[in-house]
Amino acid sequence: MADLPIWHYDTLFLTLALLFGITALAMQNLMGAAIVFGAYSFLMCLIWTTMGAVDVAFTEAAVGAGVSTVFIFATIYNTGVSATPNSPRIAFKIFAGLIAFGTGAFLLSALPDFPDWGDPKSPVNSTIAPYYIANSITDAHVPNIVTTVLADYRGFDTLLETTVVFIACIAIYSILRIDNAKSKVTEPDIITSPPAYDPTDSLIIRQASRIMVPFMQLFALYVIAHGHYSPGGGFQGGVILGASIILLSISFDLKHVLQQWTEKKIMILTALGVLIYAMVGLACILMDGVYLDYAALDSVLPGDEAYARSHGILLVEIGVGITVMFSMIGIYINLASNGRFDRGL
């Protein structure tokens, strides 16, 4: 297998990423800024691939470049606003510039103290990480070391991360959701309504997405299931599943998607994934282990202790995938329809 050339592309990508980031912040047109931000995320994804962080790059491609850009779009689409400031706020900008400059200089003052870039003997690479690399197969029979660390060694962090996604979904729901029939609070309606859906619009997009969506979902299920052996896992698969439904709701009408995936179904299934994860941990306690110690489950799961860990990891990844999928769908629908759940982008 060819060695990863860390040096050659790195400098080019880094400089380009910096340029894209500055452009995204400087653009007046908000839609353009969102697109440049998407390009910036893709560049980041490439940089991380060259540094050997494939799982992270996969997640950034799905979450950062994919879903984040769509969220920003959904927020600003109905507003049609460009970012021309009424007052240039010079004093503010100079003051903030001083703070940023000072902080940057302070951070760079530690530079001589850092280990050499790429040094395999630096403290980061020689304290805990060698244990993970050496024992991932013997402990859990999982070749993807990142998955083992994510779901087993540091499984508690992943439970909390899934909870964060769940909180984001219900928080956005609580902030935005307006049920015009039931609510006693009247909100001012300044946003211009999007144009009515015309079925003869964008025939190509509709047909193409009709073909693509089943393959996307199949691939996403593969990513979740094969996360033990290749880059992937619960998060990436869940985001791709969510993105497939978002694609349907962009290319067709949001109403059609909502007939199939009702509001109640989406919000209940969001909570279900966190429940699965937490319950797997509780099952470990009932089987006389510690919380999230999958080896305690080896009496009910097939195989020996190491395989029990492997199956336990798969169970929690499924839980993560379910929560992430429905959270992404829920967040998108709330943002795109301004909480009204009637019409989207």
Partner: protein, 504 residues
Amino acid sequence: MIKHLPIFIVLAPLLGAVFAALTSWYRPKLSFPVVLSGLFISFLSSFCLIFKLLNSESGIIHYQLGGWGDKGEYGIVGIQITVDYLNSLILTAVTIISLLTAIFSSQSVNRELAGQQRYFFALFSLLVTGLLGITITGDIFNLYVFMEIAALSSYALIAYGKGRSYMASFNYLIMGTMGACLYLLGVGFVFVKTGTLNIENLSLLIPQTLQASQAVFVGFVLIIVGAWAKMAFFPMHGWLPNAYTYAPTASGALLAPLATKVSVYAMIRIMITVYSIDYVLKSPNIQTAALLLSSISILVGSFFSLTQTNLRKIACYFIVSEIGYMVGGAWLANDPGLKGAVYHIIADAAMTSALFMVIGCILFRTGQVELKKLDGLFYKMPITFIALVITMAALIGVPPTCGFFSKFYLIQGAAQAGTWHFVGALLISSLIKAVILFRIIEIGYNKVPNPAKEGNKTIPRDEAPLSMLIPTLIVTLSLIALGIFTDTLITDFIAKALPEIPAP
């Protein structure tokens, strides 16, 4: 089951929230009891753990999640949660206050958020999960994730207030995320030089070998500044008054006493355990800067509270000045200062909780909290008024309330260290709070002619409902109880939590 108590403390509110989120679609009335039972299990677990801690010889209870403990030369490989003398009291305080606030808020939620409160109690419980997690965790990256759980829930809880709360919550989001990102960056700088994230392992590594490392120092400053942004320490306090004033009663009553204090605990934990007191004393520039900012924070909070007429805004500026007490006490880095700071975390949580609950009662019955319009409050709601007076007395520092003892320790510590500007700020803030108390008494009691006398207008008694009144009274009476039991708390818990402090 007993050995699993530490994880139950965090797991019970989390599962309570998830179940509440599920039941809110089928039987919405069940959400409240489900969340209440989760909080109650958490309270029982933390209470039992205090006794277990007192009975253990080492004074620390560890719980290795996933079964991954010490692997010899590699150190601790998994995530560990720890209960020791420093955080056991804070855990119990957080669980009790959240339980009482939940009982307190059922009526006000029904009135203020009618028809929209599907996920309110789930978010309530998730906020408590985040706060308990910050207190109990033994891993600095895990602390970041719990911090974000608490933060996201609080943004949503504040935004329930409608109106101006959206912009306030957005500003809180920007400031809070900046703080969390700086914290994460600090964790990164520490990680570069040590390779481990476990607090116990770091406490062995950093004081021994990495005293002179610039990267570890930069990490220290970044973590501290990140924690300051989260606790509304001057100059990053701008988000707090707006955010807590425009939030609904229940959110304010939960956020105000707990969210900022737990960030103070996180700062103290990093200062004492990860780095050591020795390290703090060896960086005098940061120490002087921190003490100066504390004094300014106290003065700014006190002066701004004088200019406000809204009782809630006054309370919010009180919080800003109280944070100044705690940060200053911690950075004095001597024995009485640290004792005062840790004791004040618990005392201030109780005082702020009582204050916000009282304000909630007043808002519930009279519909507004402008100071000028509260004429004759003593006659209308006598019990609530007396609770308000007791709470203000505790904030001023009148014995035997807990406020007196924390000020006593803080002043003693500042005098020992020679930081006279801190002593001055403490005394001035007490004076200003006394002025505000007299103003309240005058408006509530003196302004209206006594209805008991002949020929004067009668004012009907309209006390707050029992479900709101009883928690308020419990917390108010605890202020006095905390004061009476100060000695036990200090010698049995807080003194054992602090490490050996090198003599000046």
